[in-house]
Symmetry: D2
Subunit: 360 residues, 4 copies
Amino acid sequence: MGNTWGRLFRVTTWGESHGAGVGAVIDGCPPRLALSEADIQPDLDRRVPGQSAIVTQRKETDTVRILSGVFEGQTLGTPISLEMSNLDMRPGDYREVMEKYRPSHADYTYEAKYGFRDWRGGGRTSARETAGRVAAGAIARKLLAVRWSVTVVAWVSKVGTLTVDCDVEKVTREQVEATPIRCPELATAEHMIAAVEAARKDGDSLGGVVTCAVRGCPAGWGEPVFDRLEADLAKAALSLPASKGFEIGTGFAGTDLRGSEHNDEFYMESGRVRTRTNRSGGVQGGITNGETIYFRVAFKPTATIMREQRTVSVAHEDTTIKGRGRHDPCVLPRAVPMVEAMTTLVLADHALMQQAIASP
Amino acid sequence: MGNTWGRLFRVTTWGESHGAGVGAVIDGCPPRLALSEADIQPDLDRRVPGQSAIVTQRKETDTVRILSGVFEGQTLGTPISLEMSNLDMRPGDYREVMEKYRPSHADYTYEAKYGFRDWRGGGRTSARETAGRVAAGAIARKLLAVRWSVTVVAWVSKVGTLTVDCDVEKVTREQVEATPIRCPELATAEHMIAAVEAARKDGDSLGGVVTCAVRGCPAGWGEPVFDRLEADLAKAALSLPASKGFEIGTGFAGTDLRGSEHNDEFYMESGRVRTRTNRSGGVQGGITNGETIYFRVAFKPTATIMREQRTVSVAHEDTTIKGRGRHDPCVLPRAVPMVEAMTTLVLADHALMQQAIASP
Amino acid sequence: MGNTWGRLFRVTTWGESHGAGVGAVIDGCPPRLALSEADIQPDLDRRVPGQSAIVTQRKETDTVRILSGVFEGQTLGTPISLEMSNLDMRPGDYREVMEKYRPSHADYTYEAKYGFRDWRGGGRTSARETAGRVAAGAIARKLLAVRWSVTVVAWVSKVGTLTVDCDVEKVTREQVEATPIRCPELATAEHMIAAVEAARKDGDSLGGVVTCAVRGCPAGWGEPVFDRLEADLAKAALSLPASKGFEIGTGFAGTDLRGSEHNDEFYMESGRVRTRTNRSGGVQGGITNGETIYFRVAFKPTATIMREQRTVSVAHEDTTIKGRGRHDPCVLPRAVPMVEAMTTLVLADHALMQQAIASP
Amino acid sequence: MGNTWGRLFRVTTWGESHGAGVGAVIDGCPPRLALSEADIQPDLDRRVPGQSAIVTQRKETDTVRILSGVFEGQTLGTPISLEMSNLDMRPGDYREVMEKYRPSHADYTYEAKYGFRDWRGGGRTSARETAGRVAAGAIARKLLAVRWSVTVVAWVSKVGTLTVDCDVEKVTREQVEATPIRCPELATAEHMIAAVEAARKDGDSLGGVVTCAVRGCPAGWGEPVFDRLEADLAKAALSLPASKGFEIGTGFAGTDLRGSEHNDEFYMESGRVRTRTNRSGGVQGGITNGETIYFRVAFKPTATIMREQRTVSVAHEDTTIKGRGRHDPCVLPRAVPMVEAMTTLVLADHALMQQAIASP
């Protein structure tokens, strides 16, 4: 279980790293949305390994096929099945993983849960699993853009100890894509790239933070109590591999402030209710207020490092292990399309939820 | 929608602040668990307003009644209906809220969503709604303790700019309950209480952080991909009123580290797989590894302050508003049982999920 | 589990026959629907025991209270909590049930499932549980009428071996309510009443069939594949106590026909697509076609009879049992509002599902 | 929506008749179940078109591929993705369907719902969609057999006006498979085959009934109130194409009886609680009692006939249509594996539900 997201815009993903492929089935996408593989492939290409010198060199092309749910260029309202075949499978690289648990990976916990695991490339725990999410997210992104003019853009705002603080109202996808590190501030981006290179040379890895902004969202999306919009965004963020934290609006830093410093006062602007500040991050009481939604997601340093570490074997004996093969020294650049994808899935689902109760 | 939590241990809450009462229905609690109101009331008493000088003086007694699902002192396996009548309803206090949107409250967003709202005490957006969660959580807590010896304890680790860093392996509920601020370190607790008092005198409010530890959890709980344990914990945390952030293990601070500094090495201890450090926070790849789970939840400063603020009216005219009545200058002490409750709901649900797929 | 119905219009019921009460929580009812207890009570009064000489004489008044979700006479969009206190509790009547399993009741199966049961009046297995459904159904009924002008009417079409075949386009609630047996054809109704009386005198019981018609339903409601409208109607019907069969349109009798005799030809009428016949029962491929939906639900004879029957004790010894107390010799009249309630719940849910994917 | 079945053993199907293929994703299958394509293919071969002279001659081979979730011959606990490519696509056969609504098909209702439809072979409404269900059901069947020794067997008990009444305790799959009509009584089977042939020659079609028996089911499966086992079985049955009715135990015929004639008396047999008769059909109050579960499903005559019928065009003009191409004159033989598949999906789901609440 656990492989389905959403209530009305529902995504189920499947696939192991070194099986036949990975994929997703989307049930609940409204009919008559213009859709082809060309709408999906660009986001997959941003997630794909091997796209630049600072990410893993595993050669997947992640070419998506739409197997159902689209006819004559439009969605039918029926399930959309997406498939990406696995091409670059080298099980030989992973023989040591069969016998030992990699530190801070899920080898041990999967075995504790299921009594059995696919040790080839991490099986289902591989970041390859996120290809299905990114593909599904591209459909949600198109729906949001076409129906409600909502846009989602994410970027790398921290790598190791290097941080930037960009204006959440202004960052564009073009700025983000200008460098392989996906940090929109070029000067810092270069330092970040250098830091990743240095870590790689040390056989080590770095963590960081992705910031995400949603613009153009109407007021009124989000459900009370358990399914608040920020609750679903937090779940979406923490469902990503290597993520360890989520904060919306002022987040943890906002706890330093007093209420008089933190509250967002309302005012009228051209007949529309606005807030003078946006410390809430576009959401109040779980429901959007029409301001830009923004939040940050923390990713730990990549667990696989090219250094010897102590661990235990599947036979429960103390031993050591040393990573090898093709790995990201820093997941942050590839995490950007993943965060965007999960965000679009959350929003598309809530958009349909809101439509369900609206007056006809 | 949005008022139900869980897949197998399911909780649905209901109730507005100034309606007839609040309550919860729990569907999926296993049969033959010894249960009475006495198991539930203590947690409610920790959440209740008026329990100390530093929280709101609204006089609710939150006396819980079990209306169904329990017979001869044991659960039947049928839905457990819990009800807490509302006693101290003073709609007169809230007349201004009828006409104006309180800054950083959900008055405006609820109206944007539903075209209608209960302005008495915030209606469904009131923290009073959490009484149903806390009551349900007490049942989950008992189930976890009886069946799996799992314990959950939370505490206030930050108020305004005052912080403590307690050992997540050692804090006890007794230490937490020793002061009304629910910070287990007594010296800091006194400073925190003074800070809350000072904020109150200024008609202002403070935010802070709750830390939560889960001990005794077996390895193997949590579902892959979307329903990772930490994803559900993050959603649970962000579903609480005024929460703005969640981090597990090293969280945001962990992004400063390199992989070689962050990884948790495995070793054998008395035949059991353990990790030498616990920077992961007890979860790897979404599944528990048997170590203590710990995480932090950020709460913004209380939105209601006794100062004049600019806002807009329901007629969409610029105006001002000033809080009055009985409000918490700092929600942190009362947030502790709420965080515990949501945590127990997450864990009970995952425990049953794991039991469903176990070999008979 | 199993106590929640629906995806968007969600109903969770609770309560045992001799506990504090029974109730329901409705999550997902759209906001701004005019609603008060007066909209609900009439349907409950049709379900209540003791309403006529031919049903059980248990004295429940089933007075409903709305505890949440309604403010100033309108729904808020938040959960609507309904409660009906239990008044006429006589546990003494049921002592024998504590020690023996009643034939064709759920005493044994509940004990097999839960290892424990509430023997007082059947506990959760009592038809008293349906009060929550009927109350929730009354809200769904109002929503359907106000928003889509859809009406639902059911009647008794068979008692024992006595049958009527009424025009599903024409039966009115007034005709149904004209006699306590709820058969709209007066001559047959009298024979049915006599048959029930005769069975009662014999300490025996009768079964029968309820027919239900839904008029005014637009084309396009229902989801493909698993959640076809007729699939949900069948589940709704078979979820009722004592129900053993469901058929829509021509149902089982239609299997005698050839395709050329059974197909419903289309034609245009005043710009609207109609069918010349309606053997399909208003649904094709799981989706409404705009014609009247009609179906039949079979109810077995009441299991409780005033005769000695062989059975086994909870100690697993062969023994005998004889019913006593207050029981319906025929559940059919009281099943009518239950079938209507479940039907409205199915339709309201599908109406919102369809609205969710409609073009804005 | 509507393309997912189950709560714990969850199946999502996808695919149109003339798209790239059809398939299913199973999430929730317990780990370490031995599984390969060889477990699935036999059931698909029973559903496949062209298997005998009395079914459609469309040439699908329905060769299944397992794309994920199985490693070294065992299930991983992760999603199992199944795919069957479409081979025999002849869109040319269906051009008339593009312009006209076929009577008693779902062409019109899909267009009313989605404003758009795939007219090639009925698209998603084609019985080809059931291949995904049958494949998923084969996995559920294996799980039930291996873990709980539960077996499911269905057969054709009525074709047109020809009926058989077989002993639900004794029919074997071998008897069922002995003739292409899948009626275990050979003499009647021959008459049925002749009747189908006669209908085909007339360009007409026949309906009928499938009876299904579940043997070896332990007592205690099924959830109270809305998710009764018979409610889920009814939904499963009515979700199949062309199905119009469901009855369990004595069903509609049982309404002729009095309670004293209908009740199933309990007795002890070798330390086990048994019933002397089984008019209930193995279920009481929604929960299995350990006796054989049996039920009947009505299927209408195939809607596609080789005769001219009146209908309307998509342009809403009166017209006529005449079926051509390759169609089943009687769906009953191919409905047998479909009914079995849905039954195993219901049971596997309930088995896991029961395991979730069992004492550890």
